[in-house]
């Protein structure tokens, strides 16, 4: 296993070249050029309808671009495991226990039965849900469900974790628990790409900001610089419109 990893190229950087996406005659992403490197936590900011979710779905392979190229540096799967994972705004819980929800993802990734439960338990512990392992996933609270979704992604040991507004529907304390779990994944070496509306969250969790407006990347900057002195008029207006972050 480790041998094959050593000879495999890293997944990142991810390169998007002139990527466009159209649906229903509307151009939702317009010639996006972007390089996502390993390391810094990337925050994708922008108003509703800017194309953030579409951009993330394209990167994850859930959508295909209508024009342009999306290329990872290395193969997207190694030994049956996808090397990038995604967590959605609204967590989808399978009708089974929390532990089995995590084990399900491992089963699809080809992890042998004997190792699945062990690895699923580790992932639950990682997000602070070990005590709820046996509980049916759909009976968990919203925040717990989102942490479980994180555990399910984490168990797959992705090199790139894509998160689409994971705390949008959560109260502050639940959001805080989710943020802490994301932070631990970052510290463990997973590249984080996070969509958010929340400038506070961008400030807390981000290293750099990619700002999207009307299907275009209008600005990319370190998070402090972006929040204090945005270069583009669209970003200035966006920051003004959102609640102050401190």
């Amino acid at each position: 296993m480790s041998g094959s990893m050593a000879t495999t190229n890293t997944l990142l950087p991810l390169r998007l070249v002139d990527v466009s996406f159209e649906a229903g005659g509307k151009r939702l992403l317009d010639r996006v050029n972007l390089v996502i490197d390993a390391g810094p936590r990337t925050i994708v900011l922008g108003p509703n309808g800017a194309g953030k979710s579409i951009l993330m779905r394209l990167c994850h392979g859930l959508l295909q671009p209508t024009a342009g190229q999306i290329d990872f540096n290395g193969p997207e799967t190694v030994d049956g495991r996808r090397r990038h994972a995604m967590v959605f705004q609204r967590p989808v819980m399978l009708r089974r226990s929390a532990l089995e929800n995590v084990a399900y993802g491992l089963a699809l990734a080809g992890v042998p039965h004997a190792r699945r439960l062990r690895e699923a338990q580790d992932a639950l512990e990682h997000v602070g849900l070990k005590h709820l392992a046996a509980q049916p996933a759909r009976t968990l609270s919203g925040g717990e469900q989102q942490r479980l979704a994180l555990a399910r992604a984490w168990a797959l040991r992705p090199e790139l974790l894509l998160l689409d507004e994971p705390t949008a529907n959560l109260d502050p304390s639940a959001a805080q628990a989710v943020e802490a779990a994301i932070q631990r994944m970052h510290e463990a070496g997973t590249k984080i790409v996070l969509i958010t509306h929340n400038l506070g969250q961008a400030h807390r969790l981000g290293d750099e900001v990619v700002f999207l407006d009307a299907g275009r990347v209008t600005e990319r900057a370190p998070v402090q610089q972006f929040l204090q002195s945005p270069a583009s008029p669209q970003a200035t207006a966006f920051i003004k419109g959102e609640l102050p972050w401190k």
């Binding site: 779905r57 994850h60 859930l62 799967t77 996808r82 994972a85 995604m86 959605f88 989808v92 819980m93 399978l94 009708r95 089974r96 399900y104 993802g105 699809l108 990734a109 049916p136 996933a137 759909r138 009976t139 399910r152």
Partner: protein
């Protein structure tokens, strides 16, 4: 009204008296309908789930067809199975006509479209929620269909029950392919039809009461199980 109360009393006597004729008819009815539903479920559940997750040309036409076939007239199914199983028919060599097996085949054909159509609808509703996640985790269509079936298992109880209701209540198909032979292929619905035409209302009414009672009891038990499971698993 006098007829009805007299017949009701006589029916009650038959039921409480444990009439062996009645007992045999009830047992055969259940054997036939339950077998038909099991066969239809084994074929129809995977088919419905597959239809929910797949996209191919002509799919919409197929969906409309299965929905329409839910209203298949039992006598027509009976007639078609009769022609297939009759001596001169393509399956005549098996000698199945006027046997309980023929009745199982006919009822399974009646129930199958119900199972397929209702399973597809439930699975497709769930698929809207699950699509992104399952594809993200790398599930192919087969795995996705199996996962959907398992996750909507509580809704499928209702689907299978609808099929059972259809099978237990129909008279046209089993009458034609079974022949309503006393002691061999006589089931509750064909007996009710026959006894009514003969004027033996107590037996007809007694059978009717048992038939309704069985359907209500099966549904009640299934409902309670489903509710308990839903509370447990969310």
């Amino acid at each position: 009204m006098g007829d009805f109360s007299a017949a009701s009393r006589a029916a009650l006597d038959l039921i409480t008296g444990g009439d062996p004729r009645l007992f045999d008819i009830v047992v055969l009815s259940l054997q036939v309908s339950v077998s038909a539903v099991v066969i239809a479920a084994l074929i129809g559940l995977p088919l419905g789930a597959a239809l929910a997750v797949s996209r191919f040309p002509g799919r919409q036409a197929l969906v409309v067809m299965t929905n329409a076939l839910m209203g298949l007239p039992p006598v027509v199914v009976g007639l078609v199975v009769y022609l297939l199983l009759s001596r001169a028919g393509p399956l005549g060599e098996f000698g199945l006509l006027f046997t309980p097996q023929a009745m199982v085949i006919a009822q399974a054909l009646l129930v199958l479209p119900i199972v397929v159509a209702l399973t597809r609808q439930a699975a497709e509703d769930a698929w809207i929620d699950y699509n992104d996640l399952l594809r993200s985790l790398g599930a192919g269509p087969t795995r996705a269909a199996i996962t959907l079936l398992w996750d909507i298992r509580f809704s499928l109880v209702t689907t299978v029950l609808a099929g059972f209701g259809r099978a237990a209540a129909e008279v046209g198909a089993v009458m034609i392919v079974g022949g309503n032979i006393d002691g061999v292929t006589r089931v509750m619905t064909t007996a009710i039809a026959l006894e009514t035409s003969k004027g033996d209302l107590p037996l007809a009414l007694g059978l009717g009461a048992i038939l309704i009672g069985i359907v209500v009891a099966v549904n009640a038990v299934a409902y309670l199980l489903k509710e308990a499971a839903m509370r447990r698993y969310g």
